[in-house]
Symmetry: C2
Subunit: 129 residues, 2 copies
DNA sequence: AAGGGAGATGACGTTGACGTAAGCGAGACG
DNA sequence: CGTCTCGCTTACGTCAACGTCATCTCCCTT
């Protein structure tokens, strides 16, 4: 309502990224802020995308992979062919993500075992403190 | 029993990595193959570590982070202080991994929603084929 | 008028994780 | 014996994802 548009500085504060990063993402066509004169103004759509970008990064996806995934999120009345391609791509990602989650769960389990072993190894000395 | 030791080439085939990568990991002290003359021979321990390294990479951990985690896995009768440090470190990693898993689950859910939307968008045309 | 921020545009620097090419040594083999 | 094949080292190249200047333009304030 108030301001659907945000300056680059406001974006930096809101998402804890640098201005360089935002310009870089624009150069890579991950974001597309509107221009008023020479200045960038970021829309609600840019913010939604940035959120997804940052999440994707935490999963270890490359910016290029993220860009392709992103393109699917705002296809409403697109070409059928294009949509199908993105659909397949997203399905692959989904199974990759599920596999990663399963593996992650396994690793978490192992790490927990290791931790409880470490605790028992630490216990006697700690008790003597 | 047969061969507890593997050559670099066998390792490459077994784990689908390049020789360069294995030497690189050794240089970074992630692996410590024994030397017979000048040649490397990888032990069972190296293989276990490599497996963990590759997994860690899939989770987006840096080699340095992985190295620290790895050091905990073969501490049996180490220094108490050292153990405690690694313990704390591992605990941090654990919560990071759990957070990552939760976020991943969330993202999987969203992606699934997106996919079923795409399916309904694709359905009419597909039915007409 | 002069300065001070906020933002922009090059363009070069950096770090991590290897790739790649050049050149050397040792064992295998026809 | 020559020459392959494996492996080793050294060293420069590369790619992604930004960081870091240097320089410039507006616009506002004092």
């Amino acid at each position: 309502m108030t301001d659907d548009l945000m300056t680059i500085r406001q974006m930096c504060d809101a998402f804890d990224v640098t201005a360089r990063t935002l310009r870089f993402y624009e150069a890579k066509e991950l974001l597309a802020p509107v221009r008023v004169g020479t200045k960038r103004l970021f829309t609600r759509r840019d913010r939604a995308r940035l959120k997804l970008i940052l999440r994707g990064k935490r999963f270890g996806f490359s910016l290029e992979e993220i860009r392709q995934l992103l393109d699917m999120y705002d296809m409403e009345g697109q070409q059928h062919l294009q949509l199908r391609k993105s659909y397949e791509l997203a399905r692959e990602r989904l199974s990759a993500m599920e596999a990663q989650r399963d593996e992650l769960n396994e690793a978490i389990g192992e790490l927990k075992d290791q931790l409880s072993w470490a605790e028992s190894a630490l216990a006697p000395r700690d008790a003597a403190e």
